[in-house]
Amino acid sequence: MSSQPVLRVEGLVKWFDVTHGLMDMVLGKHIFSRAVDGIDFEIETGHVFSLVGESGCGKTTTGRTILRLTEPTRGKIWFSGFDVASLKDGKLKEYRKQAQMVFQDPYQSLNPRQTVFAGIAEPFAIHGLRLSSEQEYDSVSKALEEVQLRPPEEFIFRYPHELSGGQRQRVAIARALVLNPKFIVADEPVSMLDMSVRAGILNLLASFMKKHNISILFVTHDLAVARYISDNMGVMYLGKIVEQGISERIFQRPLHPYTQALIAAVPVPDPRHKIGAIPIAGEISSSINIHPGCRFHPRCPYAKPLCKDQEPPLRELERDHLVACHFAETIEQAPCDNMLRSVSGRESSE
């Protein structure tokens, strides 16, 4: 790893207490939804690490726990040298200046009663930076300029409902960047935008990364977007990372059956590929009563008795490419029939 990582997550765990039965309460038996069940990863400065998985796999919770928007149950979060997991008030507020978030729903992430100016200027007031209104006005216009909302005068006194989805997301990004953070969690920033506008936002985030040396934790369920924007990647299933490493390596040589199935299931904008048989059935199970052993074994076409007993550790099969599956090597040699058709027949370079 060349440069010192801006963020390192060690054994991060986040369980939600979902006990509601009267009897359970009386007996003190707690039921937990194990949203994040122990994950580790690093993000280097100026890099994008994307967390990919189906809804309910814990990727969003990871992002919000790292920013302390929900309290972690266990684990360490190292942010440029100190553990953020246990920060308190003053220190936490300081951390908040350097780590920001971009939200999924452009229609909800801006206060409908605040103009664009008030929204972007609010962080100054929150952090007590006594700026005169001229300075505030200038920095807000500069921020708008940076997110390509030109000319700023036309947008600065508008209300959110007067802007399109794409424009609103740019305002949200401007607000997140106005304090010059070192790290951003982007939680599905483009999934609610029109196709034509998505690329613009992705390119914007990419340009910020280079210009301000910002690192981004990019949470998404859309593998195509993940491949386009991320340098490193982690595939999550039921609160654990099942495959992790450099994105290109994972896309060219997916090792975990779940990753393979995910990639096979994604449609491609090319009429020559027709929807093929999907090797795995059923839906992601609930994160409350998780089976022992490998979490994926109920849906895995290669499941063996060992998978039911022992949880496979995350091991490095090739440099910067880890996988949590006992039989990753054998699967690669003899993939089951429909998996073959759906994965290999797809390689195309445009």
Binding site: L69, Q104, N111, Q114, F117, E122, P123, I126, E153, F157
Partner: protein
């Protein structure tokens, strides 16, 4: 394109733009504007009333003696327009000139009161008040009634007995002519002497004899023709001491109709009661709803925002107050405290706030889920900052709508309490007027104006606030009920 120079960005633009939008939306709802106009009228009326009838006048409202000059249970004068007959109005007669003369040692004094009476129906009542002062033996007084045709009927002849100690003695008489037994027997005497017609005293109608056309059957006829013209009331004093004299002689001829809003069973002018009811109703309605919305919003928002133990406790207390039976408890407490309106207002709002708190809590829970709240938290905002800068402004407009919507309910409740006579002991309120009406059998007695007028005022004030409240609610509530 908004040309914004480099000068200070006008933050006010945000405030008054929002306000301008709110006002334009409100103006679109015709009903809302009607309600607003009505409310402004009621406020102006209240201000006028407080100046026109100062507080001391109002205290007189509870003192029945003040109103004896008014005809009891008289409908408003504009009833004449519908009844086709000209109905008598109340007249007060005084200012008679004393004519004194003496023969040997007997001294006489005569006083005459003139009255013009050109109506189709006899008056409700005639009340004559006589005051005499004398030195020694009590003088003789004689009251006679002179009809336009000249016929003279002696109404009363009696000796002025001493009603106070020490010379000079004073004698005073307040004679209700239509119902006084002596007058009735004199009438029977008169009928016997002029027509030789024997009429039992009990069935005599003094009004018919005094005001009806001359005829043997006039005494107890069901309907009579009125002798229209100038009537005279003559008081004759026969005294035995030169210094004896009539110190007071006046009469009130009570009409059958009275004033704009008529009178109640004690002759009180309902107009004053109803007018004074307006400021009381507005005060109680407005202040109580502002208070209960204030309490309700704070508790609702706080219990919604801090969902932990604080939220739970506040929510349980809201449930507790929500389940209290409002009216019985209120009546019970009023029965004990006999509250003035300044005690009644907080009392009423203690029962009113849970409804608001429950809704405010639900709104806060909804707003809390919005992403911009978490965004503010991510920006480093504290709980308090989020509560003040993001949650409160969202719930504020909702509270305006509710202040208006709560007023009718409070006006009804206050009216109910004073209906039972447990309200403010001094101030006349619509509820108290209606309570008196019910107690005096106005509904069975047919005194419709006594019931209609105060109730109509309650209705008008209530509906004006309801209209404004609905208009505000439609602007504020996210789900427009009426599909555009």
């Amino acid at each position: 394109m908004i040309q914004v120079a480099k000068e200070k960005p006008r933050v006010q633009t945000q405030k008054n733009r929002e306000l301008a939008e709110f006002v334009s939306q409100f103006r679109q709802s015709r009903a809302g504007m009607v309600g607003l106009v009505l409310i402004i009228m009621f406020v102006l009326l209240s201000v006028f009333v407080v100046f026109a009838y100062p507080y001391q006048d109002v205290v007189k409202w509870n003192d029945v003696r003040e109103w004896t000059n008014n005809p009891p249970t008289a409908p408003p004068f504009w009833v004449k327009m519908f009844s086709g007959k000209s109905l008598p109005e109340t007249q007060v007669l005084n200012g008679s000139v004393a004519r004194r003369y003496g023969i040997e040692n007997i001294y006489f004094e005569d006083r005459v009161l003139d009255m013009s009476f050109t109506y189709d129906v006899p008056p409700a009542e005639v009340l004559v008040s006589i005051d005499v002062s004398f030195q020694g033996s009590s003088p003789l007084i004689e009251l006679s009634w002179i009809k336009p045709s000249g016929t003279t009927i002696t109404i009363l002849r009696k000796a002025a007995d001493r009603s106070t100690e020490g010379p000079p003695y004073a004698f005073s008489e307040r004679l209700y002519v239509f119902i006084d037994q002596d007058v009735k027997s004199n009438m029977a005497g008169y009928m016997m002497s002029t027509y030789g017609a024997f009429v039992p005293v009990s069935s005599i109608s003094v009004a018919n004899v005094l005001f009806g056309e001359e005829s043997p059957r006039v005494a107890n006829a069901s309907s009579i023709d009125i002798e229209k013209g100038i009537y005279q009331l003559k008081l004759h004093l026969q005294a035995y001491d030169p210094s004896d004299k009539i110190t007071g002689f006046s009469a009130v001829v009570k009409g059958t109709v009275w004033g704009w809003m008529g009178t109640d069973v004690w002759g009180r002018d309902l107009l004053i009661g109803i007018l004074w009811g307006t400021p009381v109703a507005l005060l109680i309605g407005a202040l109580t709803s502002v208070l209960s919305v204030g309490i309700g919003m704070t508790i609702g928002v706080v219990s919604g925002f801090y969902e932990g133990t604080i939220g739970e406790i506040l929510d349980r207390t809201t449930d507790f107050f929500y389940m209290l039976p409002v009216l019985p408890l209120l009546i019970f407490v009023s029965f004990i405290l006999r509250p003035s309106i300044w005690v009644m207002i907080p009392l009423l709002s203690v029962f009113g706030w849970p409804g608001i708190a429950k809704t405010a809590r639900i709104i806060t829970l909804q707003v809390k889920q919005e992403a911009y709240i978490e965004a503010a938290r991510a920006l480093g905002a504290s709980n308090l900052w989020i509560l003040v800068r993001h949650i409160a402004p969202q719930t504020l407009p909702f509270s305006f709508a509710n202040i208006a919507l709560l007023v009718p309910g409070y006006i009804f409740t206050e009216a109910s309490i004073s209906f039972l006579g447990l309200g403010d002991p001094v101030l006349p309120t619509w509820g108290k007027i209606l309570g008196d009406a019910q107690a005096s059998g106005a509904t069975i007695g047919g005194y419709w104006w006594w019931v209609l007028m105060p109730g109509m005022m309650i209705f008008l004030v209530a509906i004006s606030f309801a209209l404004v409240g609905n208009a505000l609610d439609r602007i504020v509530s996210p789900r427009l009920r009426r599909r555009a």
